[in-house]
Amino acid sequence: MLDDLGLDAAQEDYSFAFLDEQTKRMVRRAILKAVAIPGYQVPFGDREVPLPPGWGTGGIQVTASIIGRSDRLKVIDQGADDTTNAVSIRRFFKRVTGISTTESTGEATIIQSRHRIPERLLEDAQILIMQTPQPEPMRRLINSEEQARKLHAFARYGLMQVRLYEDIARFGHVAVSHDYPVRVHRRYLSSPSPIPRFDNPKLHRNRALIIFGAGRERRIHAIPPFTEVRSLDFEDYPFEVQKWEQCCALCGSDNSYLDEVLLDDKGSIQFICSDTSYCNDRRVESRRR
């Protein structure tokens, strides 16, 4: 019976990059419009892929639509290549494309990431694809899609300014640690995806193309290279990034985003780079010296 259906259990013959060609064309057209309108969320027809919605299906569909045989793919989650979700997505692409993968930021042509932008400066030939749970920055203030679209149409973002200013009035600063809203190309208010505020400045005039894929919410938005990206702030309360008093316990870096490591139950902690490729590169380099 299975033979009739053309399903052969032994032979796994998926289309290159899993998606069918028509789906790829649809995603590709959406990506091109997203690049042409920086920060604007282009609706697209999300498909079910073998990983669940909310685990990076938007990023996966973008990657699947742009990846080619000569690409080298890097997948990170929380900055690390060895986290389970990153391993799972990397394996998926290996299986359905057969292309080579890498853990080194410098060697990758496509980097799919969740929640971090690599510390190493990206290059012109690279494309960064961000997995995005909620692409609508206004969603935390208003539930209605219709209302949010209206605010984007008229670029009325006062509500967000008020929300941030309320924080300042209450706490003396803006209390948003990640997914900090940005204004792209002086027009659209956008979600940078849940990257820490620390990574926001990297969006500004980055050399690489950055594409954000939100599968469950069916939106793609993009930031082309060298595009002005400003984190919302106020003249008297300028935008600030997270800072640590400690350095990385492994490579000594004092300018990277650090993870807290619990050493025991008594409260002993250490800090190490969240970006594993960056940390490795630094350690290899210092050994060479």
Partner: protein, 372 residues
């Protein structure tokens, strides 16, 4: 075909015979045994035990078989059975810190004291139909092929103490020996207490709770959850025997425990800190445990001065509609005959229509007079 009340008895008997026939399916195919369901459909069994409020994998499997895989029907079967069994006493609270862990993860740190154990999970499987499962693995004699892949179980006993090590996380409630409410014996009271709520949520419909939890994540009452710890494994059940005046272990149960932490800054008189959500369930059911923990936190809003604006934060809405047995019962009761009610209403409707037409006629003639 419903013809008359007198035919009812015959109709019911015939219906049940049809049901039994359908349940058996094609008689040329081997019958499904309760053991098979218990051993091979364990996650369905776990769901039925949770929402059925009874830990008995064999009976839960029987219920699934009897209900042809309709889990809500199976849950009801188990609940009804539960009514018939006497209560011998109460066990001590489960010591989940002494769990023999099969799986344990924390999302707040890359590594945690005691370690992260991925264990059995569908999380990182690729959702591709495995056609090899279409073939049953049997040896020459038609017996199942034995597999020697025995996984060594992890013998980890580790508390979730790492969470409490700093002052930023709300203290966990102590085991203070205060009697906890029992919804199977007393009704829900509003405003509710957390023990009642947690019991209600544990018994609640997985889909309903998951949708509520999802709504909080899409802006309808955001509560910023992190999974501080999700663990799954076996814990001993210990009972104090009053006559003997000592504690005895009466067995183990497999459970899933979820601790979420939520950044909370609302009250002006307390510093910002993490507050907790909690879910503890039978078997392996992380989706449900997460939903319970996050809805638990949503319902704790008043403790932290949060405004009640969304469905997930409204305890009466959530707790009064969570029970799948109650919900299924009332929804399906719409299939009962209602012709007495309908007749009464139809009469009222006709009366209203007559009155409407009379008024419309009067208005028309008044208009004509004015026009003329």
């Amino acid at each position: 075909m419903i013809t008359s009340i007198k035919g009812g008895e015959k109709a019911i008997d015939a219906s049940h015979r049809l049901l039994a026939k359908r349940r058996r399916g094609n008689p040329a195919i081997a019958e499904l045994s309760v053991d098979q369901i218990r051993e091979q459909l364990t996650l369905a069994v776990d769901r039925v035990m949770n929402e059925g409020s009874l830990h008995d994998p064999t009976l839960a499997a029987l219920a699934i078989k009897q209900a042809e895989g309709d889990l809500i029907e199976a849950i009801y079967l188990l609940r009804a059975y539960r009514t018939t069994i006497p209560r011998f006493g109460y066990t001590k609270p489960l010591e989940t810190s002494e769990m023999i862990v099969r799986r344990r993860i924390s999302t707040t740190h890359k590594d945690i004291p005691g370690g992260q154990f991925l264990g059995p999970t569908y999380d990182y499987t690729h959702r591709l139909l495995d056609f090899s499962l279409l073939e049953e693995a049997e040896d020459e004699d038609g017996l199942p092929v034995s597999t020697d892949d025995t996984f060594e179980e992890m013998n980890l006993c580790y508390g979730a103490g790492f969470l409490s090590r700093t002052d930023v996380v709300e203290a966990e409630l102590p085991s203070d020996g205060i009697a906890v409410a029992d919804l199977t014996r007393e009704p829900m009271k509003f405003p509710s207490k957390r023990d009642q709520r947690l019991q209600n949520l544990t018994r609640g419909d997985e889909g309903f709770l998951m949708a509520l939890c999802y709504s909080t994540m899409r802006g309808y009452g955001r509560n910023h959850p992190y999974v501080a710890e999700m663990r799954h494994g076996d814990v001993s059940v210990v009972m104090e025997i009053p006559e003997l005046q000592f504690e005895v272990g009466i067995g183990t149960v497999r459970v899933t425990e979820c601790r979420t932490i939520h950044m909370t800054v609302n009250k002006p008189d307390t510093p910002a800190h993490y507050t907790r959500g909690y879910g503890l369930l039978f078997g392996h059911c992380e989706r449900k445990a997460l939903s319970v923990a996050i809805v638990d936190r949503a319902l704790r809003g008043p403790e932290f001065g949060e405004e009640r604006r969304h469905p997930s934060q409204d305890e009466e809405f959530v707790l009064s509609h969570s029970d799948s047995v109650a919900a299924s019962g009332l929804v399906q009761h719409l299939k009962l005959p209602h012709y007495v009610d309908f007749q009464g209403e139809l009469q009222l409707l006709r009366q209203l229509r007559d009155e409407y037409e009379k008024r419309a006629g009067q208005a028309d003639s008044a208009e004509n007079e004015n026009a003329g």
